[in-house]
Symmetry: C2
Subunit: 179 residues, 2 copies
């Protein structure tokens, strides 16, 4: 694939924030010319499909300022520095929906927008869930929603669910379960 | 959903680039406290599943600097200012894979990372494809790849395909086709 590769010549931080850092990189293109790339450096994240024994999936409603609206999503969160993704998944399940998983199954992951952000989200199927204390993040306002997996899939098919990680991870689980 | 809503108090541009603009917004939270949100403003995009009459899907390999690697993706591209998404889909199919669609079917879309970017990608299924002249973007180095839809789905199930929009849009098409 070397004939497609770009080489970074220089990298300048134009913003270093709380969640995202933005860099402008100068690159050498495969044809030898130079160009610039705007890159959001993101610590990465985890997203979980929490599937209860009765077939319900536990999701969250959250106001997303960039979308300007409330979205229905699976629980997710950013990785702390050097944090193991599976540990982050357990932490976020506790913080966002108040459950502890018996089994976490890695089911792949995704680059959310590889044209301009480094963010990779690790996906997990969480089963054997036991209620535990909700340990909320002070800065987050969430509404926990339980709904049958088939209803969530219907809301994907009809375009009601519009969060990328939620569409991808739920459809990956649906394929595993033959739904 | 008003009990979840955040209200923007002020918005400051910290970077205005070629592809992305980064703003830092001060917001009022549902509990009356204030917080800040880092928001990438993105013009939005389109992504297409080009399905040939023989069941092959036409995809592209592209080096993605933020991922540090070559990814296998469906054709996609950003919206020009005020551009109609369906028109952008036709333009990008021409530019990236050199096909003109007979039929474009809207199959939903996704916010790629609604925690920090406004980007929404409109998804289309493109059928009745006719070869036309490739009209390449000077800044893009792509390799066009044809593969059976079932092989692309296998590469999603096994985690080989890691681009978010590609996973979501191909799995949406698979559900429509009962695959």
């Amino acid at each position: 694939m070397d004939h497609l590769k770009e080489t970074v010549l220089s990298s300048e931080a134009v913003y270093e924030g709380k969640l995202v850092k933005l860099y402008v990189d100068q690159v050498r293109l495969p044809d030898g010319k130079t160009s610039m790339r705007e890159v959001v450096r993101h610590p990465g994240a985890v997203a979980m499909v929490p599937l209860l024994d009765n077939g319900d999936v536990v999701m969250v409603r959250q106001f997303r300022l960039p979308a300007g609206r409330v979205l229905l999503e699976i629980p997710a969160g950013g990785l702390d520095p050097d944090e193991d993704p599976a540990a982050a998944a357990v932490r976020e399940l506790q913080e966002e929906i108040g459950y502890r998983p018996g089994t976490l199954t890695a089911i792949g992951g995704e680059y959310t927008a590889p044209g301009y952000t480094t963010e990779f989200i690790h996906f997990y199927l969480a089963t054997g869930l036991e209620p535990s204390n909700l340990d909320e993040d002070a800065d987050e306002f969430l509404e926990v929603v339980r709904l049958p997996l088939d209803e969530a899939l219907r809301q994907i098919d009809t375009g009601v669910i519009q969060d990328g990680k939620t569409i991808a991870a739920l459809l990956l689980v649906a394929r595993r379960l033959g739904r």
